[in-house]
């Protein structure tokens, strides 16, 4: 790495601190002792404050332990685990075919990405190559999901900052996308649509019109968001220069997705480590400049536009063919065959009771979810269930940037910072 590049990256020393770190490394007992003790701090303005886990701006059940001086945040600690249901343990008891139903419940705002990572990892272990149409359907659905997830961010971010009407607008547009998902997968959320071997069903009749309709209605609404938010002096004042991170700090903290890109560091797995058919479509990687809350907001808004650009190309180039692999090992026989062939019935029964066996080995696959790198690590012992399934949740890791972003800021800015990190607690706690 050249010197000029290092200069550009900035100094990461701030995040390496063990003493005087902005991370409040206290456990419950120690914090309680401080709260109950009037002599704990020399300074009268200093206190330990609890925020959450049920707070309108914590996006679910995130709890923050804050050390405050007046209204200024000195140190903080995200306390998580309120939604922990042991999904990685659950996965060990489910077959590979059932596995997608489990992972889809992690990041509930972008469920298709978890299904995709899980399916790609399973296919890697099986050594399968899926048909082109399945690949492009996956890409179409994932990009639409990125749009719906970022629309949800626009809604909640607006509300956290006091633009309450954004809450309604963002939700309204997201619902249009979810309506299409319901038509394709049968469900608005938790689709279980992307499965090892392809997708669950072909796109329904008339899907082109539905997608064209989405491409028509969303861009003018984004223009409205610009009027309501991007150009608003009050809105900008709340976000600009708040929660700043430099590229070196983001790299050291393993932050990915819009948080890393907001610092001006262009890293997007779709571009730099292409999976599916992202190397065949044209799109831009959106980056920020200052690494503040405003950059993170603007990146997500513009990523909607880039995703729409990709969807338009997919619409023109969707290949014909099978929507799932015709490999007897992982694909159940067509329903009509079961009535006439005993072998088909046995085959169907085997796949849905025992499941298919996956060769012994281990593999890690990563995809670019709306929140950053979503990885899936699977270890197989040759049986029909994963021996170990681990999801690398982007929100879980990104949450570590919170104390660094909030250090020295006001508590009202803390709300803007939490919102701009956009954590989905289902995936943080798993």
């Amino acid at each position: 790495m050249t010197d000029s590049k290092e200069l550009l990256l900035g100094e990461p020393e701030r995040v390496f601190r063990r003493d005087e770190s902005p991370v409040l490394r206290l456990n419950e007992e120690e914090a309680n002792a401080l709260v109950g003790d009037p002599e704990a701090f020399d300074d009268d303005h200093r206190m330990i404050l609890n925020m959450g886990p049920s707070h309108p701006s914590t996006h679910g059940v995130l709890r923050l332990m804050l050390e405050m001086e007046g209204e200024t945040i000195l140190r903080s600690k995200p306390v998580i685990g309120y939604l922990h249901t042991g999904m990685e343990k659950t996965a060990e008891g489910l077959s590979y075919l059932q596995g997608a139903t489990n992972v889809t419940r992690m990041d509930y705002a972008a469920p298709l990405f978890s299904e995709l990572a899980f399916s790609l990892a399973t296919e890697k272990l099986l050594g399968l190559e899926i048909p082109p149409r399945a690949t492009w359907i996956r890409m179409l659905m994932c990009e639409l999901n990125r749009v719906s997830s970022h629309l949800l961010f626009q809604a909640t971010n607006g509300m956290d900052l006091g633009a309450v009407s954004m809450m309604i607008y963002g939700w309204r547009e997201r619902e249009e996308v979810l309506r299409f998902f319901e038509k394709v997968t049968g469900l608005r959320m938790n689709h279980n649509y992307i499965r090892p071997g392809g997708v669950a069903a072909d796109l329904p009749e008339g899907w082109e019109e539905d997608v064209k309709n989405l491409l028509e209605i969303i861009p003018p609404r984004l223009e409205e968001y610009d009027v309501l938010q991007t150009g608003q002096p009050i809105f900008r004042e709340r976000l600009q220069g708040v929660g700043v991170l430099n590229p070196a700090e983001a790299l050291a903290l393993s932050a990915t997705g819009p948080i890393l890109r907001s610092t001006g560091y262009a890293w997007d797995l779709r571009r730099h480590a292409p999976y599916l058919a992202y190397d065949q479509v044209d799109f831009d990687v959106v980056v920020g400049t200052y690494g503040d809350c405003f950059d993170r907001f603007a990146i997500r808004l513009n990523e909607i536009r880039e995703s729409l650009k990709i969807i338009e190309q997919i619409l023109d180039r969707m290949p014909d063919g099978d929507y799932r692999i015709q490999n007897k090992k992982v694909t159940p026989p067509p329903r009509a065959r079961i009535d006439e062939s005993m072998e088909a019935l046995i085959h169907h029964f085997k796949i849905f009771t025992e499941g298919f066996h996956v060769p012994e080995g281990e593999a890690y696959v990563a995809v670019e979810s709306p929140r950053g790198e979503l990885g899936c690590y699977i270890v197989s012992d040759g049986g029909p269930n994963p021996y170990r399934m681990h999801i690398r949740g982007p929100s879980f890791v990104n949450l570590q940037t919170l104390p660094h972003l909030m250090e020295g800021g006001l508590i009202a800015d803390g709300v803007a910072v939490i919102s701009s990190v956009d954590p989905i607690m289902g995936e943080v706690d798993r």
Binding site: R25, G81, H84, E88, L125, G375, Y377
Partner: protein, 177 residues
């Protein structure tokens, strides 16, 4: 067996090992991905080397409990399989390459050095591995549970920790019901 004996034994094995190595440790390939196999005492040195090489981010830290596994066939001969394996993924942005480190962390008292001083982003991931697997990280700045309450007993992702046998615990309710 003491730790020194284990180290000595591994070093003997490594001296006899003639397979491919990379960064001074045995390397294998798994589905097109590079995997390094190492012992806990080699971890910091290897990761420092990798970081200088351009591996700028520790993307993932997790662990696997191989208690009920029929036996790993993908380990090089010189690596003695242990029950717990810590799996670390690093990424090199300038070359777009990834590397995976499989650390044999031990069986009875699994311990590996913490990577905090090299990659502070591993702090939460290492806490998660401690919480769910009971693997200790030497030199971690906040060695505590992260997903489960502090009063929780056991490490649920261990293979000898069965599902469905633990009643739901509410620490504040103890003595009140």
């Amino acid at each position: 067996m003491t730790e020194e004996e284990t180290v000595e034994e591994t070093e003997d094995l490594i001296q006899e090992y003639s397979g491919p190595t990379s960064y001074g440790v045995p390397v294998t390939e798994s589905h097109g991905q590079t995997v390094l196999h190492l012992m806990p005492h080699e971890l910091l040195e290897t990761v420092t080397l990798l970081k200088e090489e351009g591996f700028c981010m520790a993307i993932d830290v997790t662990a696997v409990d191989y208690l009920t596994h029929p036996g790993r066939k993908d380990l090089p001969d010189c690596i003695k399989p242990e029950r717990f394996e810590v799996v670390i993924s690093l990424i090199n942005h300038s070359q777009g390459t990834r590397i995976r480190l499989r650390v044999q962390a031990g069986t009875d008292d699994p311990t590996v050095p913490s990577l905090f001083d090299l990659f502070p982003g591993t702090e939460a991931m290492e806490r998660e591995v401690w919480d769910l697997f009971g693997v200790k990280f030497d030199g971690h700045p906040d060695h505590s549970r992260i997903l489960l309450p502090d009063s929780w007993e056991g490490h649920p992702l261990r293979k000898d920790h069965d599902v469905g046998q633990i009643p739901v615990q509410f620490s504040s309710e103890v003595g009140r019901l």
